[in-house]
């Protein structure tokens, strides 16, 4: 695809930003443009999540972006993350825009906390509200509980244990411990810490759950031709895909034949490998969406890194560590760095390709990034060449 990420920007990641979500968005976009060596006047496209509270035109006003020829939003919560880059890349590739900024900004800890029951989601007079009405009123009202329902069945079917989930958290937190930007910088955990953390929604423990964070991330996308004139090494969009699968719900696809997979990520995987001409073994680094640990295991299976049900064996010997077979979430992921709805993971993928990451994997050539799991989702393969 004729597009690259040429700028990354972010605010600090905190539990209380002390400023408005629009300010966070504006700061991250400004930071990303500076990183790209571009000015607000170069931007003609903006894209974000449907969940973002900051209108594209509001962000454009703050930055003084004179006009927009492309603006769009992607739905399904964190499933939108990589799809914002896909939107930007398509706009650039088709000539609808020349420089598109993807952004996501929220006070997700000090403001409305996603980990709490979002009553509004279940009471909306929409198809989504109707879907949620089979779950929220029944008592299943948090993201953790929604994932726990899948996790229980996965454990039952494949013999995975809470310790297997814990290994994902331990790897993330180890990486975060050496990333100064991470909320959990200098605070690694052990598997024992994980096992002694309290139940949130059995079988998920506290340390299976990502953080709630305040912060913002922005990414600048333009054509490969223009990218060549900009300061940083290119992070080429080698593949960008969205996916939903049969009988798809948002967080609650409980009515399929099987509850142990993420077929929507399978739909994405097939496109990624076809578009990029690459395969799982070509990935130097993976940034796997980790709002809850069990779905990291399922993603490894759906993306083809290991056979179905065998992710627990794949990760057992440190495969996710920086020197492992598949260095995963070197920034610490959303459990360790921050939960910016997956956008901070895309920024990390770019840093890995530039060679500027806090926990740099040597000669990273191709990086896989995935978006929210349990929802209609998206993913990217970014490449250094």
């Amino acid at each position: 695809m004729d597009a690259a990420i040429v700028g990354i920007g972010a605010t600090e990641f905190s539990k209380d930003s002390g400023r408005s979500e629009l300010q966070l968005a504006a700061e991250a976009v400004k930071d990303a443009l500076a990183d790209a060596g571009l000015r607000p006047s170069d931007v003609d496209g903006l894209t974000t999540f449907t969940m973002d509270a900051n209108a594209e035109v509001a962000v454009a006003r703050e930055l003084g972006i004179p006009s927009l020829s492309f603006f769009s939003r992607v739905g399904y919560g964190g499933g939108a993350a990589c799809a914002t880059v896909q939107q930007a890349a398509m706009a650039v590739a088709t000539g609808m825009a020349s420089v598109v900024v993807c952004y996501r900004a929220f006070n997700e800890r000090s403001g409305s906390r996603f980990g709490r029951v979002q009553t509004a989601a279940a009471t909306a007079p929409t198809s989504g509200g109707l879907d949620n009405s089979w779950h929220y009123p029944m008592g299943l009202g948090t993201p953790a509980a929604s994932v726990a329902m899948f996790a229980r069945r996965y454990m039952h079917t494949y013999g995975a244990t809470s310790e297997d989930f814990g290994r994902v958290a331990v790897a993330d937190r180890r990486h975060a411990a050496t990333n100064p930007k991470a909320w959990f910088y200098n605070r690694p955990i052990t598997l024992e810490d994980h096992q002694s953390s309290r139940w949130i929604a059995e079988p998920l423990r506290l340390l299976d759950c990502c953080q709630e964070s305040d912060g913002a991330v922005a990414l600048v996308v333009t054509s490969l031709e223009r990218a060549a004139d900009l300061p940083h090494p290119v992070a080429r969009v080698a593949a960008a895909a969205q996916g939903s699968a049969s009988d798809q719900f948002t967080m609650n696809s409980y009515y399929r034949e099987d509850l142990t997979g993420l077929p929507e990520m399978g739909v994405v995987a097939e496109q990624l490998w076809r578009q990029s001409g690459l395969g799982p073994s070509d990935m130097s680094v993976a940034v796997l969406y980790d709002h809850f640990t069990p779905f990291v295991l399922v993603q490894l299976e759906e993306l083809g890194f290991c056979p179905r049900g065998e992710a627990r064996h794949f990760i057992a010997d440190g495969a996710l560590e920086l020197d492992g077979r598949l260095p995963t979430n070197p920034h610490g992921g959303q459990l360790g760095e921050a939960y910016i709805h997956g956008m901070n993971g895309i920024a990390e993928a770019v840093r890995q390709l530039r060679g500027t990451a806090a926990n740099q994997v040597s000669s990273a050539e191709n990086v896989l990034v995935t978006a929210g799991t349990g929802v209609p989702t998206s993913a990217l393969v970014l490449a250094a060449t």
Binding site: A122, P125, L130, Y136, P137, M138, G139, T142, W199, Y255
Partner: protein, 290 residues
């Protein structure tokens, strides 16, 4: 006057109980053990025992039973009977009239001083029971202790602060909630091809006809997966609780709260539907074990 107050008045009327003698005279080996247990290396107790050991000399030992005229025992029994089944000590104040010498025989008497309540506390509603112990050598009081306990009925788990989240209902889903109100578990059935489906929708995904009907399911099924929800609070629910995804005998799945202790739930558990009326408008399906 409540039964508790009447009983308290009666027990207070007993006055001081008979004196119950200690098992052994004040002795050096017990003092040594006590000092060791407290980590007190002092050698100040060659002639006289530590005053704070007053209670030690009249402890009944591992298998002791309370005397019938023991006022605290009597009052606790009354409160147990009245439903105040839990206890926590709140105050203890000891007064020493003199040092005890080795070889002295100590006896304990007790009286009920007050019973105050019922009080609302963070632990639950309860009564403060205050007794006074008096230790004697012969007829000489040598030490006293004011002892207060809160005898309480454990507060029920924190009640839900918000009402249950109500479902959005439209013309595609109304039949289900009309069914629960009548005590029926209705599952959508395509009138064209007979396909069963839950959650329902306006068009059959199998034949694309828009002729949804429904049947009344047996309400029997097995747990396909489940969650024990501990945190955060959920409107209308008392924590922890179980939510179960159940595969019905008819072959479709339906989620509802499972009314069962979390540690008795497992995948494959046979369940039956029940119905819990929330109000005139809404009746929720609930799973129960069978």
């Amino acid at each position: 006057m409540t039964d508790v107050e009447a009983a308290a008045r009666q027990v207070m009327g007993w006055g001081e109980s008979a004196r119950r003698p200690g098992r052994d005279p004040v002795n050096l080996p017990m003092v040594r053990n006590w000092l060791e247990a407290l980590g007190d290396a002092s050698s100040a107790y060659a002639e006289e025992a530590p005053p704070a050991m007053a209670q030690v000399w009249t402890m009944g030992g591992l298998h002791h039973t309370r005397a019938d005229d023991d006022p605290l025992g009597a009052m606790l029994a009354v409160l147990d009977e009245a439903g105040y089944t839990s206890i926590v000590a709140t105050d203890c104040e000891q007064t020493y009239h003199r040092y005890l010498r080795y070889g002295e025989e100590v006896a304990l008497a007790a009286r009920l001083e007050s019973v105050v309540g019922p009080k609302r506390t963070a632990l639950g509603e309860g009564w403060f029971v205050t007794t006074r112990n008096i230790w004697y050598v012969g007829d000489e009081p040598v030490a006293e202790m004011m002892f207060r306990v809160l005898k309480f009925a454990p507060a029920p788990a924190e009640p839900p602060v918000e009402p249950l989240i109500r479902p959005v209902v439209n013309r595609d889903t109304a039949y289900f909630w009309e069914g629960t109100a009548r005590g029926e578990l209705r599952i959508q059935r395509c009138e064209a091809c007979g396909e069963l489906r839950h959650p329902p929708g306006p068009m059959c995904p199998s034949c694309n006809e828009t002729k949804p009907g429904w049947l009344v399911a047996s309400g029997l099924g097995e747990v396909y997966s489940y969650v024990v929800h501990h945190h955060p609070p959920v409107p209308g629910r008392t924590l922890p609780f179980v939510v179960a995804l159940v595969e019905l005998d008819e072959g479709v799945r339906l989620m509802a709260e499972l009314d069962a202790p979390p540690d008795e739930v497992h995948i494959g558990l046979p369940v039956r539907i029940a119905f819990a009326a929330v109000d005139d408008e809404l009746t929720m399906p609930v799973w129960r074990r069978r």
